[in-house]
């Protein structure tokens, strides 16, 4: 799968590697499986370490201890009593499955991994873990749900995580094309570099430039080329009109599947809810701080 003789990329110095440690948040959902897949790809390409984290939901454990705890299920007529022991068992089982999935995925890609199980409030635990890592990869929601939904945990991490966050819903193809957004800010520059470093040689990178006029567009474009230097060869720039800038997510989506690297707090993200942005984009999103 990874034919290093043809793509001798991470021979670059360590400073060129944007992420040396990747944390992937695991649960039982297909979204998290997709996140795992992409995280493993990145880890293999960047020779990064992969940390799997499974959080046992403290709220659920507490609720299960309540004397009157009852579980409502989709296909049963009346609620069933919920016992602490059963919830413990089910969570343990999910954690085992998550580890198995992690093991299988990393084995194929020859990536080393760590796996941890912690107990606590899910967002808080992940935020804490995000402090010690270079990238958090996670599924959009913890359940099989519609494209529109964005889980509370993902929302929390997108808003507060100190590390860059990668959110996705569906597995991508191997080495997706990259997109990014450059408005001249420092974060945007950082996002641009990250995007360029993520791409293996030959992976196309498209940079969207919000520009009110041609002069600004030219300015930004020069900036991009200055920042990327020798990598600039495979870069395409795409100036955006203000209307297009407002609808960036939808526009990016129409470019086909790919990984969108966005600087945090840039105007397209700030002007809309992350849920809406992700819904319109419908492709993996990596938010760089």
């Amino acid at each position: 799968m990874y034919d290093r003789s043809h793509t001798p990329m991470p021979a670059a110095p360590a400073s060129n590697r944007p992420f040396r440690e990747i944390l992937v948040a695991l649960d039982a959902s297909p979204h998290s499986r997709a996140a795992l897949g992409l995280a493993v790809q990145l880890a293999a390409d960047l020779e990064a370490d992969l940390d799997g984290l499974f959080v046992k939901d403290a709220n659920l454990l507490r609720a299960a201890q309540l004397p009157f705890a009852e579980e409502v299920r989709t296909h049963s007529v009346s609620p069933k009593a919920l016992s602490d022991r059963r919830v413990q068992r089910q969570l343990r089982h999910q954690a085992e499955r998550a580890e198995a999935a992690l093991q299988e995925a990393t084995e194929r890609a020859q990536v080393s991994y760590n796996f941890r199980v912690v107990e606590g409030q899910v967002p808080q635990q992940l935020l804490r873990a995000a402090e010690d890592t270079d990238l958090v990869a996670m599924g959009k929601t913890s359940t099989q749900s519609s494209r529109r939904r964005l889980g509370t945990t993902s929302r929390a991490l997108l808003a507060e995580s100190p590390a860059p966050v990668l959110v996705l819903r569906r597995a991508t193809r191997h080495r997706p094309p990259l997109f990014t957004y450059y408005d001249g800010s420092d974060t945007a520059r950082s996002a641009l570099r990250t995007a360029a470093q993520l791409g293996a040689p030959g992976t196309p990178l498209t940079v969207f430039l919000p520009a009110d006029d041609e002069a600004q567009a030219k300015q930004l474009q020069d900036d991009v080329h200055d920042t990327l230097g020798m990598h600039a060869g495979q870069v395409q720039v795409r100036p955006l009109t203000p209307t297009e800038a407002d609808r960036l997510a939808a526009l990016a989506r129409r470019q086909g599947p790919g990984l969108f690297v966005m600087p945090d707090n840039c105007s397209p993200l700030a002007n809309t809810s992350p849920q809406r942005f992700l819904y319109e984009l419908d492709h993996p999103l990596l938010v760089v701080r």
Partner: protein, 824 residues
């Protein structure tokens, strides 16, 4: 005394110079049949009459070329007739057990098959392509999401409402749980424990309320999902219809003239649309990696219930259901078909449904329907051999059933008999319009006619082939041309006139009749081929009479081991046959043996002994159960003759014993009855019979000598014995005068007669014969009602009277001889 026959009466010779050709090269060689007018006319009639039941039974002896002739005549007739339609079987999508038959004008069946195969090939790529397309994917997702979003919105509303109420909704691995919330955190259990009862009660009630609300939402999930499924199905059908209609409409235009094909195409279209799930699911499994090409694994059952197995990509087995099974293809047929089925068993006649063993089970579908000879011949002619037909189980019944019902129903024999009722196909019956010609021996026809009441209805025409052909100038010419045809067909050397003449002579000998030619064309062909072989052996350019003679001699030599043994036994006097001198009560009879297609004659010593008795003539052969009924009948006739001629005034007081000496097998036929009578008369008259002569011929009660069979072989049998010992000039054979036109003797016999070394006497009556054998005149009754003294009859009568007198004496009470007075 009657005279012997002249040499030229012993053999019909053909004069080569009378033929108006030099060699068979000069002949047109286009004769297929000579004579057989009756059979040919019957066949013509049978072929041309257009009415039910006018099938033909061509009967005649084997080797007369019946089958070839029938086929030739049928092909001539069929060439000018219309070519019948092609026949295909296609799936019946309403009931797969009963495949439909499609009839298309000749040649279009193949077109349809190719067109449908092409259609399938296009669909194989177009349909999965459609369901793998981005357009389809997004439309499908849209539907699913619309439903799911509605669901989630309701759930989120409930969650929000509960949160405001201080209750959290938490997902569990299998569902949801509500729990009290305080400051955005789930209340720890200890706190709940320590709550006042009333407060706890209140929380619990709130939770119960939310649980009910949640359950209401969740219970609608199946409804929503069903709705989504229904909409997706509609979408699938819409997409499939677009693709399928586009492809099928072209075909529909091409076959607009055939209602049946149009309705088949419609059903294919409907079925593909109905089974569209197969493509959808395989498309979702991933891009069509599962296309297994022409792998013909059958999964009929799996296909029928669609869902379960269909998750894998539709392979060759799936597409089988849309294919066209071309059963009868008349694309290259000119005129009506003429089919000769050389293995007419049940399934080869009516067709069959084959099966494939798969995972230990036998499965089948309409693609495995195989045609029978009746399908192939439908609209034309079918030839079968009666013997083969009758020796195959149920074949005759199957054929009759098809003819009676006027349709071909493909069933296994077990099904037809109701013995097996496993689930299999019942293909739609096809209307039958065929002329059957059954070719067989006469005996089979007569047996069938006597035993099968259906014969009269189904085989109204008999074409009776003769084994002989009347000889006439026209027939001789045709016969020569028939030889030329045979020579031409077998690519042999030309036969010169002498060779043809020799073949003609052999043909007469084959039927033992100078007025007939043999119709056994197979045997003639063998002779011709063998003569050619000897000609080639000699390096001759043309076949001459010498080659033909050599072929005949070789045939005889190959077959006559038994005759040689018999002749040798006679020569070494193991079998006693006298050919010189004269003996009382002993005569040379002649018997005729046929072994393995070769026949020969053999002399037999017959003896008679007489004594006083009560008028019984004992046939020792019969007493020993060695004589057949015809032989016994001949002997009983002798009594009639003796009584009629000699026992009018006094009882026949004779007891006689007749025996075939050294006969250890059975004996039958009455051809020795004249010889027996001569021996008996000789014994009574005590006059010796010449052993130089041999006798054949049966006799009636009036003393007339009647014709017999095998006269040539019999004469030759005695001739061979005499010749071996040296011909004396006295030797000869007495034959019935009526057999003279059957004489076709070997040339060496004829030569001996010509040299006056051997004689053949045509005898009409016993009196003529006894005179020849004894040299004593037979004598006729004079006015005094007695035979003259010194004649054979006089001596016999005297002896018989003596017997009668002595018998009367024995009958007296004291047993003394009567005085002369009492005699008055």
């Amino acid at each position: 005394m009657i005279d012997p026959l002249p040499a030229d009466a012993l053999r019909k010779r053909f004069d080569p110079s009378e033929f108006d050709f030099e060699t068979t090269e000069d002949l047109p060689a286009d004769t297929e049949v000579v004579g057989q007018d009756r059979a040919v006319e019957a066949l013509d009639f049978g072929m041309s009459i257009d009415a039910e039941g006018y099938n033909v039974f061509a009967l005649g002896p084997t080797g007369t070329g019946r089958r070839e002739l029938v086929q030739h005549l049928l092909e001539e007739q069929a060439a000018g007739e219309e070519t019948p339609p092609d026949l295909c079987y296609v799936n019946n999508f309403d009931d797969e057990r009963e495949p439909r038959a499609l009839r298309l004008s000749a040649g279009r069946g193949c077109e349809l098959k190719e067109d449908v195969d092409a259609l399938i090939e296009e669909l194989q790529t177009a349909l999965p392509g459609t369901f793998e397309s981005e357009e389809y994917r997004s439309r499908r997702e849209m539907i699913q999401e619309e439903v799911q979003e509605g669901q989630e919105a309701a759930l989120e509303d409930l969650q929000e409402q509960a949160r405001e109420d201080g209750i959290a909704l938490i997902r569990t691995p299998q569902g949801f749980v509500f729990t009290p919330l305080q400051d955005g955190e789930v209340v720890p259990p200890e706190e709940v424990e320590s709550m006042p009862d009333a407060e706890r009660e209140q929380v619990q009630q709130k939770i119960e309320g939310y649980q009910e609300a949640l359950q209401d939402i969740l219970q609608k999930v199946p409804d929503h999902q069903r709705e989504a499924r229904r909409r997706i199905e509609a979408l699938n059908e819409e997409m499939a219809t677009l693709v399928v209609d586009d492809l099928i409409d072209d075909l529909r235009d091409a076959y607009a003239d055939s209602e049946d094909v149009l309705s088949f195409l419609d059903s294919v279209r409907d079925d593909i649309i109905e089974n569209v799930d197969v493509f959808v699911q395989s498309a979702q499994q991933g891009p069509s990696s599962g296309m297994q090409g022409p792998q013909q694994m059958m999964q009929q059952q799996g296909q029928q219930d669609g869902g379960q197995q269909a998750a894998r990509a539709p392979d060759g087995a799936f597409w089988r259901r849309y294919r066209v099974n071309l059963i009868v293809d008349h694309e290259d047929t000119e005129g009506a078909p003429v089919v000769y089925e050389d293995n007419p068993n049940y399934q080869n006649l009516v067709g069959q449904v084959e099966q494939i063993a798969q995972m230990g089970a036998l499965v089948t579908d309409f693609n495995l329907i195989r045609p029978g000879a009746l399908h192939e011949a439908n609209g034309g002619y079918l030839i079968v051999e009666a013997r083969q037909l009758l020796t195959q189980p149920y074949a005759w019944e199957g054929l009759k059933r098809a003819l009676q019902n006027d349709e071909i129903q493909i069933e296994s024999p077990g099904q037809a008999l109701g013995l097996i009722r496993t689930l299999t196909l019942e293909p739609e019956a096809v209307p039958l319009d065929v002329k059957i010609v059954v070719v067989g021996e006469r005996m089979l026809y007569y047996l069938l006619d006597a035993l099968d009441p259906d014969m009269d209805r189904l085989f109204k025409v008999t074409a009776d082939f003769d084994d002989q052909i009347d000889r006439g100038e026209a027939q001789e010419d045709a016969y020569a041309d028939l030889l030329a045809t045979t020579i031409d067909e077998n690519d042999l050397r030309p036969f010169d006139r002498s060779a043809v003449a020799r073949v003609f002579e052999h043909s007469l000998r084959m039927v033992s009749d100078t007025e007939k030619l043999s119709a056994e064309v197979d045997a003639i062909r063998d002779l011709v081929v063998e003569a050619d072989h000897w000609a080639r052996d000699e390096g001759a350019d043309a076949v001459t009479d010498a080659h033909v003679q050599r072929a005949i001699d070789a045939q005889i030599y190959r077959a006559d081991r038994l005759r040689d043994r018999v002749q040798e036994s006679i020569e070494r006097e193991k079998l006693y046959i006298d050919t010189t001198g004269a003996t009382v009560g002993q005569i040379n009879g002649l018997s005729y043996l046929k072994v393995g297609g070769f026949s020969f004659g053999k002399p037999n010593r017959i003896t008679a002994r007489v004594r006083l008795g009560e008028g019984d003539i004992v046939d020792i052969e019969r007493e020993a159960a060695l004589g057949g009924p015809l032989h016994s009948k001949g002997v009983l006739i002798l009594s009639g003759f003796l009584e009629g001629r000699f026992a009018q005034r006094h009882p026949l007081s004779l007891s006689a014993r007749l025996v075939f000496e050294q006969s250890y097998g059975g004996i039958d036929g009455d051809s020795a009855s004249s010889a027996e009578l001569y021996a008996l008369l000789s014994a009574l008259a005590e006059v010796p019979l010449k052993q130089t002569l041999a006798v054949t011929g049966s006799v009636n009660q009036r003393g007339m000598v009647q014709p017999i069979g095998g006269v040539n072989e019999k004469i030759e049998g005695f001739f061979d014995v005499c010749e071996e010992r040296g011909l004396t000039g006295d030797q000869g054979v007495l034959i019935p005068a009526a057999n003279v036109d059957n004489l076709m003797l070997r040339p060496d016999v004829v030569a001996a007669v010509e040299a006056d070394d051997f004689h053949v006497y045509p005898v009409e009556t016993i009196d003529q014969g006894i005179a020849l054998l004894t040299g004593v005149e037979a004598g006729t009754r004079d006015e005094q009602d007695g035979f003259p003294d010194g004649t054979m009859n006089g001596k016999v009568e005297a002896r018989l009277r003596e017997f009668a007198d002595r018998r009367r004496q024995f009958a007296r009470p004291n047993g003394t001889p009567p005085s002369s007075t009492e005699d008055m």
